[in-house]
């Protein structure tokens, strides 16, 4: 790549428009390690986007840099679970061995060490993302303070513990399912030849499937509304931005079962009448992106994707987009903005994606896991799906368990089992004495040992004012310090707020400052946290701000002594 010039990189983008901006920025960032004024000027000419806008877009995303960087940038995750596993020490050690400070470049220009938000490798904490100039990113885990720099990229690949028989069938870590293993897209064949679009939606409706991305919205309703919307063309977007701290189920699915996801995307496109789909994969998941790309190529070659699928009138082009490093781009409308080549600012809703989504056209956006359930539902029927779960939480559900358990990993559960059964059965028990569980990710709530018998369903969790969220379950024993966890959550939201609306833009900063001084709080900090938290929750523009205080508010309720000042009433 080193030899490619800016102009050469731009050749394939001639005639393209603003929506090619993220891919161009990625190509430049990878080739040169940064995107300077020359590159921006030439991109501006090619795509007809103002230079200021390009600068604004690149400065929004964490993985793009306007200043020269080191040849190898090591970013270590410092979110709660990696924090427990020694991420801070790892950063400190790396810096000491390289004789540099955090965010500094070694004099020879070779290395820089920095931190990052959750990399979705919580089951192998601590994790790191390595960016090497001229090559793509590589995620590695676990990292030890002694890890040799020259061996960074040759560490044996992580292998997640996974257990499940439906979505995770045949997944034993490490293997990518080829098309031959997966078999032809039988469900798609059934849909095209027998069911038709309405039949597909009918089965999805019968299944009672609820979206797995966090917002818990019924999938069939979304599909029906989009199918009925009048705008053309229509789009399917697979939300593979998985950035909720503690969540890695989508990564496991993408790495192991790419064809299952692609078939789900194709079924959705067939059902709503779309011919173009995007897979928006977070930039920190390079492995997922290339495995999906390889699967797309394989399926296209076999006539299962592309023009006139299985000899029918139905055609579908699936394109992968890599995110630039921004949690907010998991929010569906911010994700559209990112694909369109803008800063990832969420939009005001309504209008909703079903009528005004990507490029203002009717769009279905679904989570990776949601789409992965579709082939089974279509092939075996909606009732098949209902054999798992409860009346309101149908079908098998994936959870990502990390922290102080014997076997952290991704588990396919039958909703209705209790949290205790999950931790003691599937995960081999808690290491040490359980102190608390952070349920649903950074945007979730804390549970205490007396709540272990809650059944893991959407409705039971809601009843105790908790949430499945993204399916992240972080377990902490007596050695964990709630203040330390809250500090890391505070930093996460401060780092990831998009800055669009005032409550979240200001509130995440003020919240973090108060959490940073949690060991020596000021009089009134509890009240400050409550006012900030409730203001963000009730008045923010999007789901990020609306949940940025969720864990903090639940901690204040559970541990009334937190932020209490000696000699002062609570």
């Amino acid at each position: 790549m080193d030899s490619l010039s800016i102009a050469e990189i731009l050749v394939p983008y001639q005639g393209r428009q603003r929506d090619a901006l993220l891919p161009v920025l990625w190509d430049m960032q990878t080739a040169f390690g940064h995107i300077g004024p020359d590159a921006v000027r030439q991109i501006s000419h090619t795509l007809h986007v103002p230079e200021a806008d390009i600068y604004g877009v690149m400065s929004f995303y964490s993985l793009f840099s306007s200043e020269p960087t080191a040849k190898t940038v090591i970013r270590i995750c410092t979110d709660p679970v990696c924090g427990l596993a020694g991420a801070d020490e790892a950063i400190h050690n790396f810096c000491r061995r390289l004789n540099i400070h955090h965010d500094e470049i070694t004099p020879d220009g070779k290395y820089a060490v920095s931190h990052t938000t959750c990399l979705g490798l919580c089951d192998h904490a601590p994790a790191a993302l390595i960016s090497q100039r001229g090559q793509s990113e590589t995620a590695i885990a676990p990292l030890t303070p002694e890890t040799d720099f020259s061996e960074l990229l040759t560490l044996s690949p992580y292998q997640s513990i996974v257990r499940g028989d439906i979505l995770l069938k045949g997944v034993d870590g490490g293997n990518v399912e080829s098309l031959a293993d997966y078999g032809n897209y039988r469900a798609l064949h059934h849909a095209i030849t027998i069911l038709g679009p309405d039949g597909v939606i009918g089965e999805v409706e019968k299944s009672g499937l609820i979206g797995r991305g966090g917002a818990a919205f019924p999938t069939a309703t979304k599909w029906k509304m989009t199918r009925q919307a009048t705008g053309q063309p229509k789009y399917v977007v697979c939300n593979a931005d998985e950035s909720e701290p503690g969540t890695f189920k989508d990564r496991v699915l993408m790495e192991a079962r790419p064809h299952l996801i692609l078939e789900g995307v194709a079924l959705c496109a067939f059902a709503i009448g779309a011919t173009k789909a995007y897979l928006f994969v977070r930039g920190e998941y390079p492995e997922s992106a290339w495995r999906l790309q390889r699967a797309i190529d394989e399926a296209t070659h076999a006539g299962l994707l592309g023009a006139n699928i299985l000899g029918s009138e139905f055609s579908l082009d699936i394109e992968i987009r890599r995110g630039g490093g921004a949690y907010i781009c998991g929010e569906e409308t911010a994700l559209f903005e990112a694909i369109e080549g803008n800063r990832g600012f969420p939009r005001i809703k309504p209008p909703y994606p079903t009528t005004h989504g990507l490029f203002q056209k009717p769009t279905v956006v679904n989570n990776v896991e949601t789409l992965s359930t579709i082939p089974g539902i279509v092939e075996h029927g909606g009732d098949w799906f209902r054999q798992w779960g409860t009346e309101k939480s149908t079908g098998p559900k994936l959870v990502s368990v990390s922290g102080h358990v014997q076997r952290p990993g991704v588990y396919e559960i039958n909703p209705g089992i209790t949290l205790r059964q999950l931790l003691e059965g599937f995960c081999g028990g808690v290491i040490g004495d359980l102190q608390m569980v952070l349920m649903g990710g950074a945007a979730g709530t804390f549970l205490t040992p007396d709540q272990l018998d809650v059944r893991l369903t959407f409705e039971d969790l809601r009843a105790i004012r908790s949430t499945f969220g993204s399916g992240a379950i972080m377990v902490f024993n007596e050695t964990a310090d709630i203040r330390d966890i809250l500090r890391r959550l505070g930093r996460f939201f401060k780092h990831e707020s998009c800055g669009k609306c005032f409550p979240c833009q200001l509130g995440t900063q003020r919240q973090m400052e108060i959490l940073e001084r949690a060991d020596t709080p000021l009089v009134g900090d509890r009240e400050r946290l409550r006012d900030i938290g409730l203001t963000m929750t009730e008045s923010s523009l999007c789901g990020l701000g609306q949940t940025a205080a969720s864990a903090v508010l639940s901690a204040l309720e559970k541990w009334p002594d937190l932020f209490a000042v000696k000699g002062q009433p609570v």
Binding site: P37, G56, S59, I348, Q509, E513, E538
Partner: protein
Amino acid sequence: MSDTVTLTIDGQEITVPAGTTLLEAAAQLGIEVPVICYHDATTSNGLCRVCVVDVNNGRLLQAACVTTCANGSTVETRNDRVERSRRTILEMLNSAVDLQHAPAIQTLMNDYDADPARFPNAERREHALLDDNPFYVRDYSQCVLCWRCVQVCADDAQYTFALTFGGRGFDTHIATAFDIPMPESPCVFCGQCVGVCPTGALKPKIQWGMEQGMTPEQIRQSTRRRKHRVEYED
């Protein structure tokens, strides 16, 4: 679909054309909902959220400037929840931004009992004064991020596209590409950004010079300088 909707705002019933915002409907009843980012001439983006109101006692409050009236809804423009949000937003804003030249926001602070010292040891958004052109100065320490300048520079008015945002979250700031000085940017010095700025962040050079106690002659001298450079003030 009917062309009008009927709703109740602070106990008064009102019928308005469909598509009317809650802000407009309230104004018709003589109820003033406070705003910061809203401006008649620019696209509303629902940024500041001081205009939030309570619709049907819902879980979320709604930004009145961008929420349209729904038939049969009951709206409270000022109750405890609304006041807490408005007050907290104002207190947080004041703890981050220099509001001395934003009298309208000062008035709101008083109206909502906002404590200017609510957040001790808070990081402020401080920026060096940018004096890089003969027409206006930019002091982003006074910027509330209402987006108006960026919008009038872009497709709300001028189609010049000199301005954008740098960074994100609390660290967001208004910027040119790579922070180049205005004269090197596409800026045509139309002055629209200065006209819509609700604080002292963008000021005509003359006004700024007079505030600094410069004489008219000194101001003229400074605007005639041929070589413009960025001056930093610590």
